[in-house]
C-alpha cells in the first residue's frame, strides 16, 4: 500500500536537491489544455511528457507546464517548446507516441522533430 511515509522519504530526498534545481530548467514544454486541447487528446500528451521527462532524467533541465487556448484549435493538441536563446518550436496534432519521440529526439537529443512542427505562428 502507498503510505504517507513514502512521501516523507520523497521530501527528505528532495530537500537536498532543491538548491541544485534553482536557476536551472532552461527548457519549458507548454501543453495547451483548454477545451479544444482536452477534447483533441491533450491529456495523454501532457502525461507522456511528464512521465518521459522524468524517466529520461531530464527533470533538472526541462519543466512541463500547461496553458489555455493557444488560438489554433484545429491543430490541437498543440505543444510549445521554449528554450533559452532559441526560437520557440510549436508542435501540432500531437499524440502520446509523438510526445515520446519529441522527448527522445528534441529534449534529449537536441534535434527538432520537423515533421510535427508548424511554422511561423
Amino acid at each position: 500500500m502507498k503510505s504517507l511515509a513514502e512521501l516523507q522519504a520523497i521530501r527528505e530526498k528532495m530537500q537536498n536537491k532543491v538548491v541544485m534545481r534553482e536557476g536551472s530548467g532552461d527548457v519549458r514544454v507548454v501543453v495547451g489544455m483548454a477545451t479544444c486541447g482536452i477534447a483533441a487528446g491533450a491529456r495523454p500528451v501532457l502525461n507522456t511528457f511528464v512521465e518521459e521527462v522524468n524517466k529520461q532524467n531530464l527533470s533538472d533541465k526541462v519543466t512541463v507546464t500547461q496553458t489555455g487556448c493557444i488560438g489554433i484549435c484545429q491543430f490541437e493538441p498543440v505543444v510549445e517548446v521554449y528554450e533559452a536563446g532559441k526560437e520557440k518550436v510549436t508542435y501540432v496534432k500531437m499524440t502520446a507516441e509523438k510526445a515520446k519521440e519529441v522527448v527522445e529526439k528534441h529534449l534529449k537529443g537536441g534535434k527538432v522533430v520537423e515533421d510535427y512542427v508548424i511554422k511561423n505562428i
Partner: protein, 182 residues
C-alpha cells in the same frame, strides 16, 4: 469529449481560472446513476453571466468567441436523461462566501452515457498544473470510497511542491490502489 473525466478536467480548469484556492471534485455513484459535482471558492459569476453560461457563445477565452466547456458537459448529462445544474455567488456581491458549484447527473444505463474513463489522469493533470490549490477528490461508489485531499499530502511534504514527478507518480499509484482494493 470521449470520456466524462475529460469534462471534469475541463470544468475544473474554470475553477482555477476563477482564482479558487480550494476545488472539490465529488463523484457519487449508485447502481444506475452518477453525479459529478465540482465546487470552488473562486470569484464566482454575476447572475447575468451565469444566465448565459450554458450558451456556447459565452466565454471567458480571449482567443475566440466560443466557449464549449459547460455546454458540452451539460449535453453529456442531458443526453442520458440526467440533469445539469450550476449556481454561483460572485465576489462583489458575496465577499465572504463566493464560488461556483457545477453539478450534473448521468443515467449510467442510457445508450448515450459517456464512460467516466481515466479520472485518475484528470486529477493528476489538475494537480500538476496547479499544485498550490487545495484539491479534494472523492469518488463514492456502492460499498467503496476513493479519497484524496492534497492538504494532507502538503502537511507531509512541507516545501516540496506537489507537482514534482516523484510526487505525481505517488499520487497516481495512491489513487490507483484505492480503486483496486476494497
Amino acid at each position: 469529449m470521449k470520456e466524462l473525466s475529460l469534462n471534469i478536467l475541463d470544468i475544473a480548469k474554470n475553477s482555477v481560472k476563477a482564482g479558487a484556492d480550494t476545488v472539490e471534485i465529488a463523484l457519487t455513484e449508485t447502481e444506475d446513476q452518477l453525479e459529478i459535482r465540482i465546487s470552488d471558492n473562486g470569484c464566482g459569476m454575476t447572475p447575468e453571466f451565469l444566465a448565459s453560461v450554458t450558451d456556447p457563445f459565452t466565454t471567458t477565452r480571449t482567443t475566440r468567441k466560443v466557449g464549449l466547456g459547460i455546454p458540452l458537459f451539460k449535453l453529456a448529462s442531458e443526453q442520458t436523461g440526467g440533469t445539469f445544474h450550476i449556481e454561483s455567488r460572485d465576489q462583489a456581491a458575496h465577499p465572504k462566501d463566493h464560488g461556483t458549484v457545477t453539478a450534473a447527473t448521468f443515467m449510467k444505463n442510457h445508450l448515450d452515457f459517456t464512460p467516466l474513463g481515466d479520472v485518475i489522469s484528470s486529477v493528476v493533470t489538475l494537480i500538476q498544473a496547479d499544485p498550490d490549490i487545495r484539491w479534494v477528490y472523492t469518488h463514492t461508489m456502492p460499498g467503496k470510497e476513493v479519497r484524496l485531499d492534497t492538504n494532507e499530502l502538503k502537511a507531509v511534504l512541507g516545501d516540496v511542491p506537489l507537482n514534482i514527478p516523484e510526487v505525481i507518480a505517488w499520487i497516481t499509484d495512491y489513487l490507483r490502489e484505492q480503486y483496486e482494493t476494497a
